[in-house]
């Protein structure tokens, strides 16, 4: 698959829920085909920002733009993978994927082929006929990403997709996700509060401050994400740097009441 040539740019993003300012003056550049990770203390507006980037939330200030040449097989320029996978419980695994293709102009056979392809990529081929309730948490998240990949998005937004999982599933899925994101060559913005995920997946790591969320630091890891290992010394050191940046804010956020 060819890498996405779409760049996502956010300029001067600010957001407030009534009087409560959650985001202020955010400028963000997600480079084509790279993973940009957003980290920050709880309640810093990471998910709000992701919603704004995906067009699911109207910012009170600023603008989000996509620039670049869209690949011909792309059905939806920007797509979100949700924390809870947001599966339709009344549709089988395969039908949850085909849901997002049914309104496309793709011929029937092509749709079926795409469904089969993404289920195979995510290791769900044997569960095509299963109901979502029969899946484990990890399988649900894999289905969530399979569904997103089926539309061949140019920009993939991921909202803490692993945070609802236990530590073991999370570790296993993290490697799977890294391979899937790299394989799809998609421009990705990934929100997490797990710093190990951030250093494992990110080319760019954007650290947000506590509410109102502002950009506090931007770190780069100029290495392909395939072959990275969260336990290798350089990445562990990077995690420590990130934690040093977040720690005080996180401790303070912990003592605040989230009145959002």
């Amino acid at each position: 698959m060819t890498a996405s040539a779409i760049r996502l740019t956010a300029r001067g993003i600010g957001h407030a829920y009534r009087d409560l300012v959650v985001l202020e003056g955010i400028d963000l550049d997600a480079a084509p085909g790279e993973v940009t990770v957003l980290v920050g203390p709880s309640g810093c507006g990471k998910s709000t920002l992701l919603g704004i980037l995906g067009g699911l939330l109207a910012p009170t200030q600023g603008e989000v733009r996509l620039d670049g040449e869209l690949a011909p097989d792309c059905l939806n320029s920007v797509t979100t993978v949700f924390q809870d996978a947001s599966l339709l419980p009344w549709r089988s695994v395969a039908k949850n994927v085909s849901l997002v293709l049914e309104d496309s102009p793709l011929p029937r056979a092509e749709r079926a082929a795409r469904v089969a392809e993404v289920l195979a990529q995510t290791g769900l081929a044997d569960f095509a006929g299963a109901w979502p309730r029969q899946l484990s948490g990890g399988m649900r998240q894999r289905l969530g990403i399979a569904r997103a990949l089926a539309v061949r998005p140019a920009v993939l937004l991921m909202d803490e997709p692993l945070s609802a999982l236990d530590a073991q599933s999370r570790a296993l899925l993290l490697d799977d996700f890294a391979a899937l994101i790299a394989g799809a060559g998609v421009t990705c913005v990934y929100v997490t509060h797990h710093l190990a995920e951030a250093v494992r997946l990110g080319h760019t790591i954007v650290v947000l401050s506590r509410r109102p969320g502002r950009i506090r630091a931007v770190l780069r890891i100029d290495r392909p994400i395939e072959g990275r290992h969260a336990e290798e010394p350089a990445l562990v050191a990077m995690q420590a740097r990130l934690w040093a940046l977040i720690r005080d804010d996180a401790a303070r956020a912990e003592r605040e009441i989230a009145d959002v």
Binding site: L56, W90, L99
Partner: protein, 263 residues
């Protein structure tokens, strides 16, 4: 301080009522047998409450003479038309209230004002408006079904997780697909639960309307039998109503199992 020396006693008993299907059949059969025994052994007078055998004979004769079907078919037809029309209208209005701000507050205000009126109290008005014939009965039935259907449809739509709708929007699904593939299936359990309420409401209103002004129909038949002190036939009519209710409930159970297999 007190010393402990012994096993931890099991304390999680109870609060786990189970279904035993055989027990439900056995209970009904047992009650009928007891009733029959009480009548046969002379423990109770059959002047005011016929015994099951007499009711069975009455039912058999009604079935053979065609009188049962003549009344039942009229009632079933009213039930089918009135319920279907009321349900369709209720679904349409419920959908509008559930989806559109412009319909929501006005719609709910009207529902809140009209829903509490016992529909049976409207029969005299409907007779004036629509005549003593089929019209008033169908309108009574349809009206009685209409409001609970609205309420259950709106509750069902409101209960569809917001996250699922956002998912549809994240994938840029057209409005029509979000309604047909996310909102309606999500509301279906509540809508089907509403069918249980509206079918029984419909049977109640059917019988009541037939008692007020009808020549045929199970309600009219029961009323007539009462006027004639024909306890056998009166009870036979009640048995038919009970069977009708059971049949409808069984059918809805099948429908739920077929449509909600994913649960």
């Amino acid at each position: 301080m007190s010393r402990l020396d012994g096993p931890v006693a099991f304390r999680a008993r109870g609060f786990a009522a189970r279904d035993i299907p055989a027990a439900s059949v056995a209970t009904l059969v047992g009650l009928v047998l007891l009733w029959q025994a009480a009548a046969s052994l002379g423990w109770m007078s059959t002047t005011f409450l016929s015994d099951p055998a007499a009711i069975g004979r009455g039912l058999w004769q009604l079935a053979r003479s065609g009188e049962l079907w003549a009344n039942l078919s009229v009632s079933l037809q009213r039930l089918a038309i009135g319920w279907t029309v009321g349900t369709m209208a209720g679904l349409a209005v419920g959908l509008a209230i559930g989806l559109f701000t412009v319909a929501r507050s006005p719609g709910m205000a009207v529902v809140a004002a009209l829903f509490p009126i016992p529909k049976i109290a409207l029969v005299p008005l409907f007779i004036i408006w629509f005549g003593i014939g089929e019209g008033s009965k169908l309108v009574t039935l349809g009206f009685g079904v209409f409001f609970p259907t609205i309420i259950n449809t709106v509750a069902g739509i409101d209960g569809v997780p917001r996250a699922l709708i956002r998912m549809g929007q994240a994938f840029n699904l057209p409005w029509r697909s979000i309604v047909l593939k996310i909102v309606l299936p999500g509301a279906l359990p509540s809508i089907l639960a509403g069918f249980r309420i509206t079918t029984s409401t419909a049977i109640i209103l059917l019988v009541a309307a037939e008692m007020i002004g009808a020549e045929k129909g199970i309600g009219a038949f029961v009323l007539q039998a009462g006027n004639l002190y024909d306890i056998d036939n009166l009870l036979a009519g009640l048995v038919v109503l009970s069977l009708l209710g059971l049949a409808v409930s069984w059918g809805l159970g099948r429908l739920e199992r077929a449509l909600l297999a994913w649960r």
